[in-house]
Symmetry: none
DNA sequence: TCACAAATCAATCATTTTCTTTCATTTTCA
DNA sequence: TGAAAATGAAAGAAAATGATTGATTTGTGA
């Protein structure tokens, strides 16, 4: 049993259940408690999990989401740059999907294409969109209070009736193995659906999202183009091998 | 059973039900009362909940702030007074429809009933509603930029799947012969539909709306109860012959 | 309003479980 | 083969747990 395999098992269980017991690992992998403890210590040092008495848990950050307002303050200049770049991808007459979230919100301010139609699940986007005179459709459904996103079965049904020239998504995690992820399963389902309905799909992500994995999978990496401000050649190379990645030029 | 798992259970139940009993936790998780108490103390210290005698509750500042609807009624401007009065009609557990518009918006601030569900077409209402922790559904469809109301065929279809204990509408005209009217036919259609789906229907109207007629008919007078601050005996008598009219008392 | 019973609570302590550290053994790989 | 790394076992330390105590709060009925 390779160390890598053990680590993968531990992280897999964590990502699907949120917590893991030492005893469980000992029994399933048939290794000693000492080894498990060493593994957990190591993974903790790499910031992959948090050790707790009796086992381990996902990092707090990945389980609990920040509220919309808290998020907005985070990496704001980067988000604005990414938003502006993404807005430039929208052409006259396009019909686009705009995900809920702060980065896509920044996009709206920079939208200049004419005669575009925007479909969104982000209730914070609506006033700004319609004030700008953009033809706006809101997907109906339950309003999730933390993220101010519309979710639920009704929402998926309504969304599935649209087709988009371009889909713009926000995500919480981008990982070479686990793809795009977000904490809430319902939101992941919506994002995943919007992704399938878009001819071109873009994921907007500042650097804090890379190498992160959160609870719910949206799609594998290759199904979208990443738009980011990151300019670490190593990371770009790493992800470019699997998917397309467009950089916002840092001036 | 990991501490994290217990905490997750407690917070999950809290988020879905609002309160939790210690005994319930003891039985479900099969752990001692001591441990439960320790967990609750810890979570309270982390600001995740508030301990109450016998268990714990979600912490919500809103609970204490309001509840003084009555007092506020005196010195509020018209719309707020009407909104506050209407909010008082909403009882625990109600499922209500809230029309788009400024008067219905005022209602939200004064909503204090517990466990209510709100369905709305007013996109300006959404953030406030969900910030207050109210279960909120947005009707999907086209966002009309002037009134920030959701309209269209999709909206009517989605709306028609709901039933409401109470429907609260705003209108532009109230006339003894022409009934309730509003300028936009699409909005009229939505209002008319919401009216049919409500067990009790209330129209919120300040005095400027009386004797006015606008382009599109919503419904005849008798299909709703008017809530107004007007106190002209002549007008009250005139409309009372056809429908019910409730006055916000001016003290 | 009052008193009383029942329920809930905080504090304490013995017990159990888990953790860290250390060291001997096994495995890996040059 | 031999050094380095990984593993497992064990002992004492630390943490978590559950039971018990007496104090406090709550609800009930006079």
């Amino acid at each position: 049993m390779l160390t890598e395999e053990r680590h993968k098992y531990i992280l897999d269980v964590l990502n699907s259940k949120g917590t893991i017991h030492i005893q469980e690992i000992v029994e399933v992998l048939n290794i000693s408690e000492s080894t498990v403890r060493r593994d957990l210590s190591l993974l903790e040092k790499e910031n992959k999990l948090k050790r707790v008495h009796g086992g381990a848990a996902l990092l707090q950050q990945k389980r609990t989401e920040l509220s919309m307002n808290e998020k907005l303050l985070h990496n704001l200049p980067e988000k604005q740059r990414i938003g502006a770049y993404a807005a430039g991808l929208v052409k006259d007459g396009d019909c686009i999907f705009l995900d809920a979230g702060t980065t896509t919100y920044e996009m709206i301010k920079h939208l200049t294409a004419k005669d575009i139609t925007v479909v969104t699940t982000g209730i914070t986007h609506l006033e700004l969109l319609s004030d700008k005179g953009i033809a706006t459709y809101i997907i109906g459904g339950y309003v999730r209070s933390i993220t101010k996103a519309v979710i639920g079965q009704t929402a998926r049904e309504m969304l599935s009736k649209f087709r988009f020239d371009k889909t713009f998504l926000g995500v919480n995690g981008i990982h070479i193995d686990y793809g795009y992820t977000t904490p809430d399963p319902e939101e992941a389902a919506i994002k995943s659906l919007a992704l399938k309905l878009g001819q071109h799909v873009y994921v907007l992500a500042d650097e804090s999202k890379f190498h992160e994995v959160t609870f719910s999978e949206i799609a594998p990496l290759e199904e979208a183009t990443i738009i980011t401000n990151i300019n670490d050649p190593a990371i770009i190379k790493e992800f470019n091998s699997t998917t397309k990645i467009e950089m916002v030029v840092d001036k």
